[in-house]
Structures are given as C-alpha cells and as structure tokens.
Point group: C2
Chain length 367, copies 2
C-alpha cells in the first residue's frame, strides 16, 4: 500500500481517477498540474488510512462544483479552495486535521491532494463516492447519515457563500443557482466530519485504488495491451472486481447540452465491423449503457469510455466523433449498492427507467 502522494505517482492518480470518473468529475489533467506545483513547493502528502482516523480528527472536503465543460476553460486556484474550506472552518469554529476527497473520480481527486499539500495536512485514503456522481447528495456520507451542510462555495473573485440547510437536496437546490451565477464552476467544502463519522461513512481505500488503476493503465514495457491491463487490475480490486469490456468501436453520434450547471447527453458507439451498436447516456457522468438494445451497465455501477489504444478514460466533454474506444464497466463499491444507497444513487435518482441490476449478473447473462 502506498503511503504518500508524490511527484512520482501523481500522474497515476490522475489517470486512475479519470477512469473512476466514468466520464465526469472533470478532467483530472489540469488538477494534476496544480498538484505537481503544490507538491513541488510543499512536499509529498501523507496518505491516512480511513481506519487510522481518531474520533477527534476533523475531516474537511476540498472539491469543485460545476459543469465539466466549463471547468476545462475556467481554472481553479488553491487560494479559492482555501477560501471555501477556511470559511467553513470559521463558521464551525474548528480546524481541519485531515483533508478528504468527496469524489475520487475526476478532478475532485486532485484538488484535495494539492490543498492538503498546501495546508501540510494528510489526505484520507477514501472518498464519498468511489467514483463520480453529478449531485452533492449522492455520497456515502449522505447514505450513512452525515449532513452535507454547512457547506461553503467560493469563486475566483473573492466571494464565498455558506449554506446551512436541513437536507442534502436542499443544499444542492440552493447552491446550484449560486454556482451558476458565479460562472458554473466554483470551489467548495461540505460534509464536515469528525474522524468517527468519516470512519463510518467514507468508502475506504479509493485513493490508493485510483493510483493502482492508473499505474496499470500507464505501465511501460508490458506486452499486454492497456485495456486488458485495466480490466485485470479492476478484477483484482476489492470493489471493482466485476469488470468487463462491454463494447468496442468508434463514436458515430454525440449529443451534449450544458444547462442548469450540468452537461447532459448521449453517445452512440458503432462496431468497426458489423452491425453492433452501444448507446450511452450521461449527466456529467455516464449513467447507463445498452448494447444492441440490451442493458449492460447501469448506475451506480461504473461505465467508462476509454481510448482503445491507450486505455485512458475519455471524459464526456472530450468525446468526439470518430474516436476509437472501448466501454469498460465494473461494479460499484458495496456501500453504494445497498437498498438504502440505491435510493440516493440508483437509476431512479437520475430519472432513468431502468431498474438496478448488478453488473456481475449482466456480465454473466452475456457470456
């Protein structure tokens, strides 16, 4: 198990979390530049296992909120992130002893590391999603009863806002129009937790998991193709082990609509030879995959479009007509698949008609 995020493994974290972003969470590449800079200046960041948190620890989230299509054009700074966390610390009258990622998938895996480096604090090996989701209340923290509020957001002009709401969906409802008025992309902090709460509510080992996945995809000198290495590392993982290539082909249709602070859309992938076709739907993240009309993966299980050659994930905002891709699916962490969890992150929460069927069963049905 790795014990630090350093200049040597930060790229693995970026590549792995891009896969776990299932198309969303924002491209971690830009965040990895921020991390490099922060680690170069402040030194490596210690990784703290979830189980090592003491009851007295104060665990704060550093995260971005917004539409990924905007995030690639409007960059974040550690100073804006600090204003979000500092405002929350000030509101609560207590100081962070550890930083945690709300969402290991996408760029929200990176800012917490950069920010932990700047603060000289450890980063917790865990997160609230084990992947990426488009809404604030879609977390294991919420599923386990931790309140998302008080929550803070901060923009790049020195403005910050604290939301003290009675429910997660209400925080989402009130924060989204402010984030939109701030330019559809802001820094935030939310779900402030004690160590006791984080031990109970965080999904453990997802940070080190992302690094391991990234390392497998990026490995040099291997004769096994990257997509096969990716599926192999997933199959060996404690959460993502029900894994398979669901489809391979090229992108032949694409729809995207950035509205209300999200990017909604769909993508069609056609087989290179023959008539087969895959259909993906997304709201920031990929939500459901059908192949030739048959359900192959549905949220909360993970489906990511990866480059057929390199195995690198392609976020929804970078999908393009003609790209040669593989769709890789895998199982979500068990904490996201309970009956209670499916009320928060199941297909119905995204307005989908599909019932949740575990990807293990869908893979078996298709063998």
């Amino acid at each position: 198990m790795i014990s630090q995020i350093t200049l040597d493994n930060i790229e693995h974290l970026a590549i792995g979390s891009s896969f776990l972003g299932t198309g969303g969470g924002g491209d971690p590449y830009l965040g990895s530049l921020l991390c490099r800079e922060a680690i170069a200046e402040h030194g490596p960041v210690d990784i703290l296992p979830v189980g090592s948190l003491t009851d007295e620890d104060q665990v704060f989230i550093a995260a971005a909120l917004g539409a990924p299509t905007v995030m690639i054009e409007k960059l974040f700074s550690i100073e804006d992130q600090h204003r979000a966390v500092d405002t929350l610390e000030r509101f609560l009258g207590r100081k962070a002893t550890a930083i945690i990622s709300a969402e290991i998938g996408g760029c929200n895996s990176m800012m917490p590391v950069a920010y932990a480096a700047m603060r000289g604090l450890p980063i917790v090996d865990g997160d609230g999603m084990g992947r990426a989701f488009p809404e604030l209340q879609m977390t294991s923290f919420n599923i386990e009863g931790v309140a998302s509020a008080p929550m803070t957001i901060a923009d790049e002009h020195g403005n910050s806002v604290v939301f003290q709401t009675t429910s997660g969906p209400k925080a989402e409802e009130l924060a989204r129009p402010v984030a939109t008025a701030m330019g559809a992309s802001v820094c935030m902090s939310c779900y402030p937790m004690t160590g006791e709460q984080a031990r109970r509510a965080a999904i453990p080992n997802t940070l080190s998991g992302a690094v391991a996945i990234g390392e497998a995809i990026a490995r040099h000198g291997s004769s096994t193709p990257p997509v096969e290495r990716l599926v192999a590392v997933l199959r060996g993982h404690q959460y993502y082990s029900d894994a398979a290539v669901l489809f391979q082909g090229k992108i032949t249709a694409l729809e995207r609509d950035t509205s209300k602070g999200w990017v909604f859309g769909s993508c069609t992938i056609s087989a290179l030879n023959g008539p087969g076709q895959a259909e993906l739907k997304f709201q920031n993240e990929n939500l459901v995959v059908h192949v030739d009309g048959k359900l192959r993966c549905v949220v909360p299980d993970l489906a990511t479009v990866v480059d057929a050659e390199t195995g690198h994930a392609i976020p929804t905002e970078r999908l393009a007509y003609g790209q040669r891709v593989a769709v890789v699916g895998c199982s979500a962490p068990p904490m996201l698949r309970t009956a209670r969890a499916l009320e928060v992150v199941g297909p119905q929460c995204f307005g989908l008609a599909e019932e949740y069927v575990p990807i293990a069963q869908l893979i078996e049905d298709n063998i």
Copy 2:
C-alpha cells in the same frame, strides 16, 4: 421625541412607514400584527438615538428580502428572522447590542421592532434608506462605505445561507436567485456595523419620523382632511419638508409583472374632471411621476400613492383600477441626494432616462 415603541404607537409606525415605503417595502400591516404579539409578550422596545450608540455597540439589521406581491401571501416568523441574525452573529463571533432597520419604509420597519422585543434589545432611531428601495446596495450604509457582507438569509424551512462577497451588487446578484429558490421571500441580516459605523452611516431619526407621520395621518377628531395633515407633517420634518400633492384622481390603468424576485410596473391616474393624467413607474417602489408628460418627482425623492379619503398609503401590490387617490411627493434625506449617493440610488440605477431634479425645484416650477 418618543422613547419607546409600544402597543399604543405601533399602528402609527405602520401607517407612517407605509407612506415612506413609496409603494414598496411590503405592506406593514402584517408586520404590525407580529410587533403587537412580540411587544405584548416581551414588553415595549426602547428607542436608541443614533448619536447615543457607543463605538463598542454591535448593530445588526433584521429585514425581509423579496417581492411584496409574494410577502402578502407568505408570512414571516420571528424564529426565521432570528435564524438569519443568529447565523450572522455566529459567523462573525459577536452578539448584537442593538437592532436597526435597513429600510424604514414598508414592512422592514416592523420586523426589526418585533425582533428587538424578542431579543430584549433597543431599536436604533434610524435606518439605511429613510424610505424604501428595491435593492440591497441602495443604502446610506453602502454610500458611506459600510460593506453589506457578510449577509445571511433564512427561509421558513430551517435553511440559512451566508454570503461573504466583495461588493454590494455581488451580494445582491448571488442572494436574489437563492431568495427566489426559497420562495421569493426570506428573512435576512446584512451590513453588520459597530456603533461607530452606524453613527456615521445611518440616517438618524427616521423611526420617530415614521411614527410622527403615521400619527398625523391617523389623528382622530381633526377637521383638517388626512391628506392635508400628511403634507403639513412632512413640511415640518427635517428631511421630507419639500412636500406637495402632485396629483389627484382615479386609477385608470395598471401594469404589474412579478419577475426575478421583484414587481415591476406602471400606473396611470386620471383626473376626476378634465383631461389631466399622471403616470407612475415602479420597481417594488415608485420611481418616477410625470403629470401631463412633465416630470414631477424622481427617485431618490419620495412619491407615494395615498387613498384620497383616508391619506393611507397604497402599496404597489394593492393598487387597483378605479381607486380614488392622491400622489404625494416629498424630498429625500440629504444623505441620499449627494453626488456620491446618486450613483447608488439615483434615477440611472433604476434604468431611468430622467436626470435627478430635486423635488423642491419641480414644485417651484409648477406653482
């Protein structure tokens, strides 16, 4: 000079502040019920002259934010108001020693009194407008350099939001969509001030002024008609002394549009005999009056539509076709008429084409 707000003069305050509301600020009648209840339970509220504030005093605003058309249907509670002030006190780490009204015109004159009663604190004899205005930054506090942020808003479901912005217009820009998402009517606190700041930036004596105006309108057993009594009390006042009946007639046309959290509109009043006609434009408050095409009063000077018989102000949301009314205009407090003030509350701030001409001059031109 009165020294307390009691069950005996609370109605005068409601009637006087309704006049100073210039059609906006929300109908104070509902607020006066809340005041009666609070004073009956907690006792009268001491009035503190602006000049008696010490440097160490902590002056907090209690106010409502929203569209008056909504406020008459969605009532406030002192508990919601307390959540707004308490959240701000907690954010700042200091406690109120006195309450002040942001806006003496309309219902924002009443909630601070009810709230001061509940907290057992004095109410400052002054405010930030000397009338009513539709936007948060349109205050003497802002004109004199006091920051509107941090600002808090609270709804009736237990949710509150703190805005820490770098400018007044930004606070307005970010709070308005949240207020709209909360139902277009919320409780708030903003412009937290020390006693030193309030002494410099508040408009003094407007609370006692509103009581005096209300007393004149409501006076029983006088042979002078109410509208004449109103003009007489205004002419004797330190601020409102350039006063006149600008027009009398009946309402013959009315347009109202409640959007973006405000009520916009216009009102036509026609002479009972003959061809004369007055035109009023409003954004929550009355902004400009023309009579037969000639400018007679423009913001920041005050123009209020009053019932021709009773002299009671008619707020924009209660204007109705056929009502017999008088339009009474008067001068704004001098703090609102400086060159610096006109950049914040002058006609151009409301998108009007008219230049500001003091009502004293417009009255003289029409004699």
